[in-house]
């Protein structure tokens, strides 16, 4: 059974600080996705990582993928309050066609 585990599940940080969210998965895959969900709203696609060593950056967020370690990271630089949300990673296993498996989500709160 495929497992996608995010760490931490809850993160409270101060504005201006840096932090990393980790996403570990248990199967072979070279496709990983990061989504953001604001309270009461739907999921918004942030990053699509399609190969080992892929790195994508947008604003204060940077995502990377290490397929050998089966690990993706979402790094937050100099956090601001607007980044408060729940962040999900999702993995597309090699044998699953188009079926994504999601992690539990990391609830991030950035305090002023």
């Amino acid at each position: 059974e495929l497992k996608v585990e995010q760490n931490p599940l809850f993160l409270s940080m101060q504005e201006g600080k840096n932090y990393t969210i980790y996403c570990n998965y248990s199967t072979t895959s070279d496709r990983l996705y990061w989504y953001r969900q604001d309270p009461g709203k739907s999921l918004e696609s942030l990053f699509v990582l399609l190969s080992n060593g892929a790195v994508k950056q947008e604003g204060r967020l940077m995502a990377s993928l290490d397929t050998k370690a089966r690990l993706s990271t979402l790094h937050i630089t100099a956090a601001v309050h607007d980044l408060s949300a729940t962040y999900f990673c999702a993995v597309l296993p090699e044998t699953s066609g188009s079926r994504l498996t999601f992690g539990e989500g990391t609830q991030l709160t950035v305090n002023p």
Binding site: R31, S45, V48, R99
Partner: protein, 112 residues
């Protein structure tokens, strides 16, 4: 502006009722998905469809069925609603090979 819409944002039904959740996308996507989202469990795939009249079971299909008669519309049916189906239901669509997925706003279903 691309869009995935769901028929209701909030729905309250009684145990044993038949429930229809509708999802429509305007992006001509082949793939459509139904997930449920519960606290601490992330998103779990109920059913997905990769073409008209084609469907595949996801991870938790029990108690649900789906219908896809037209490419843009994917319906989730609860044949006899039960209280454990109280949840947030999210519809999504994507191009083949799970390119960036687009999610609808969600339907919060309460079964009394």
């Amino acid at each position: 502006d691309v869009k995935v819409t769901q028929s209701s944002r909030y729905l309250v039904k009684r145990t044993g009722e038949k429930v229809f959740l509708e999802c429509v996308q305007d992006m001509d996507h082949e793939n459509m998905f139904w997930y449920r989202q519960d606290p601490g469990l992330g998103l779990r795939l109920i059913y997905f469809s990769y073409d008209v009249k084609m469907k595949e079971k996801g991870d938790i299909p029990e108690g649900y069925s789906v219908s896809r008669e037209k490419k843009e519309r994917f319906s989730l049916i609860l044949e006899s609603a039960s209280t454990n189906q109280t949840s947030m239901y999210l519809c999504a669509s994507s191009l083949p090979l799970a390119q960036r997925g687009f999610f609808g706003p969600g339907t919060r279903l309460t079964v009394l």
